[in-house]
């Protein structure tokens, strides 16, 4: 393996631990979905009753509250996943696990890149789950889009989540 791919080692380790830590994995995957189901459905039935009386301004179009909330759900989940990903980094250092890595010939930048990538991957996995679950619940993420537009929208979501997660991982 070439030295330039050293960050994949860090990435691999982080993902192994993510999958290994069963309770955390389970809750991290299930929580946003449940959130969306319980809160989303309960609140949207209220909000939609309110807003149904308000006329749609010219040029705009109406979306359900659940759809409105779906985007926020993705952002919030990314936020928490990334914060946690960053904290793991800190624990590693505190418990001395990082000493092994620091004393190895792996360049320091690869540690950052590896952790960044794995944090991003975790967020992506959750976004996929939320999106699919949301569609199932009746969130209209891509209402009236052509397949090309859907593809562009998905790329847009992932780009946003990627940047957002990196931001929260390291700050």
């Amino acid at each position: 393996m070439a030295m330039e791919l050293g960050f994949l080692t860090i990435y691999w380790r982080d993902m192994v631990r993510y999958v290994r830590y069963k309770s955390l994995l389970f809750s991290s995957l299930l929580q946003p979905a449940l959130w969306l189901a319980f809160f989303g459905i309960a609140m949207s039935s209220n909000f939609d009753r309110f807003t149904s009386g308000i006329p749609v301004p010219p040029g705009g179009y109406s979306i359900g509250y659940l759809t409105f909330m779906g985007a926020g759900m993705i952002a919030m989940t990314t936020l928490f996943t990334s914060l946690y990903g960053g904290i793991i980094f800190l624990f590693d250092k505190n418990w001395g696990l990082m000493r092994e890595i620091l004393a190895s010939p792996l360049p320091r930048t690869h540690i950052i890149v590896g952790v960044g990538l794995s944090g991003m991957t975790k967020s992506f996995i959750q976004v996929v789950i939320i999106t699919l679950f949301g569609l199932l619940l009746g969130v209209r993420f891509f209402a009236g889009y052509s397949p090309l537009q859907v593809a562009i929208a998905v790329v847009g979501i992932f780009a946003f989540v990627g940047i957002f997660s990196l931001g929260f991982l390291f700050f």
């Binding site: 393996m1 070439a2 030295m3 050293g6 994949l8 080692t9 691999w12 380790r13 192994v16 631990r17 290994r20 830590y21 250092k93 418990w95 001395g96 696990l97 000493r99 092994e100 890595i101 620091l102 004393a103 190895s104 010939p105 792996l106």
Partner: protein, 328 residues
């Protein structure tokens, strides 16, 4: 042929105002087991941390395998293996994953990695635990796994920081055996310890370190011979006078008055000298309560060179080590 593999010159390190390492200099030959013996907080771990490039050199210089620790840290890092003082195993990874991860960190090719993992698990007798999470291993197994990890890259030098800290006597013996086997296969070993017996039985050469300074260096035998061949300890009615009487005798190298008795270092066969000096003391009209004759141990050597017993146990109060933990 003897090559110097670790060379340290005039190394000093401060934690704030505290001078943890004070112009330490030593060299380690290729293929030997070299020990740093000293109490907690003597500066042992600091020296190791500097040598393994985790702490910057503040003053002095150090070379490992011909590479300068400051100027070529990457080369140094790829020539050494480390077993840290505290456990640094990921609880949620399996035994083979720990080794796999380490191999990948050092960019070892896949096939080499696989075969090395098999070899090492056999060496440390952990084959049956291959797919066990490390949190389910016993303390001794964890140590063995860490040692295997340290050897993963076939390092020229293996650093062991207190390798048997907190292990039971049986596991300690076993660990020593592994260390010796590893050494026989050509790995130079640098170890730190505060256990006298460990340094004594394991090392080819020992440096006694105290308050950040190397007090003396030599093979265990040399160090013990410095004290003479036997030690006689006597409790008498009048230790000061008894000391004076003994001092003039043939074969006595030196006499020290201790809290509760007289300690004499003997050059030659203590069993023959003991009856003579007992007679002299009795002739001088001094009563003798107890007599003790023994071969000098590393404990005696340590006391002789530092003037005090080793501070044992982990509760030594604030040490450079705890300062270094806070900083990290």
């Amino acid at each position: 042929m003897t090559d110097t593999i670790i060379e340290v010159r005039d190394l000093s390190h401060w934690y704030g105002d505290l001078k943890a390492v004070d112009s330490v200099g030593f060299s380690v030959e290729k293929g030997e087991i070299f020990s740093f013996l000293g109490p907690n907080g003597a500066g042992k771990s600091t020296v190791i941390n500097i040598l393994i490039t985790l702490l910057p050199i503040q003053s002095g210089e150090a070379k490992i395998a011909g590479y300068d620790v400051t100027r070529e840290p990457e080369k140094v890092r790829s020539s050494i293996g480390i077993v840290f003082q505290e456990t640094t195993l990921d609880r949620d990874m399996t035994v083979s994953e720990i080794l796999e991860f380490h191999g990948r960190l050092y960019s070892m090719p896949v096939e080499v990695r696989r075969s090395r993992i098999d070899d090492l698990l056999a060496l440390v007798e952990l084959e049956a635990k291959r797919d066990t999470l490390t949190k389910h291993l016993s303390g001794g197994m964890k140590r063995r796994l860490e040692m295997a990890r340290g050897l993963m890259t076939r390092p020229l030098v293996l650093f062991l920081d207190e390798p048997t800290l907190g292990l039971d006597p049986q596991t300690r013996m076993k660990t020593w055996e592994y260390i010796r086997n590893v050494n026989k296969e050509g790995t130079t070993i640098f170890l730190t310890t505060h256990y006298m017996d460990e340094a004594d039985r394991l090392s080819d050469r020992i440096s006694i370190i105290d308050h950040g300074r190397i007090v003396t260096t030599g093979s265990p035998l040399e160090l013990k011979n410095l004290l003479g061949e036997d030690i006689i300890f006597m409790e008498t009615d009048d230790d000061t006078r008894a000391g004076a009487v003994i001092k003039g005798e043939k074969g006595i190298r030196s006499v020290q008055k201790k809290e509760k008795g007289v300690l004499a270092l003997v050059q030659g066969d203590g069993t023959k000298i003991l009856p003579i000096i007992m007679e002299r003391v009795l002739q001088a009209g001094i009563g003798i309560q107890t007599v003790n004759l023994k071969k000098p141990s590393m404990d005696d050597v340590f006391v002789h060179f530092t003037g005090r017993e080793i501070r044992d146990g982990g509760s030594g109060g604030p040490s450079p080590r705890s300062a270094d933990r806070k900083r990290e």
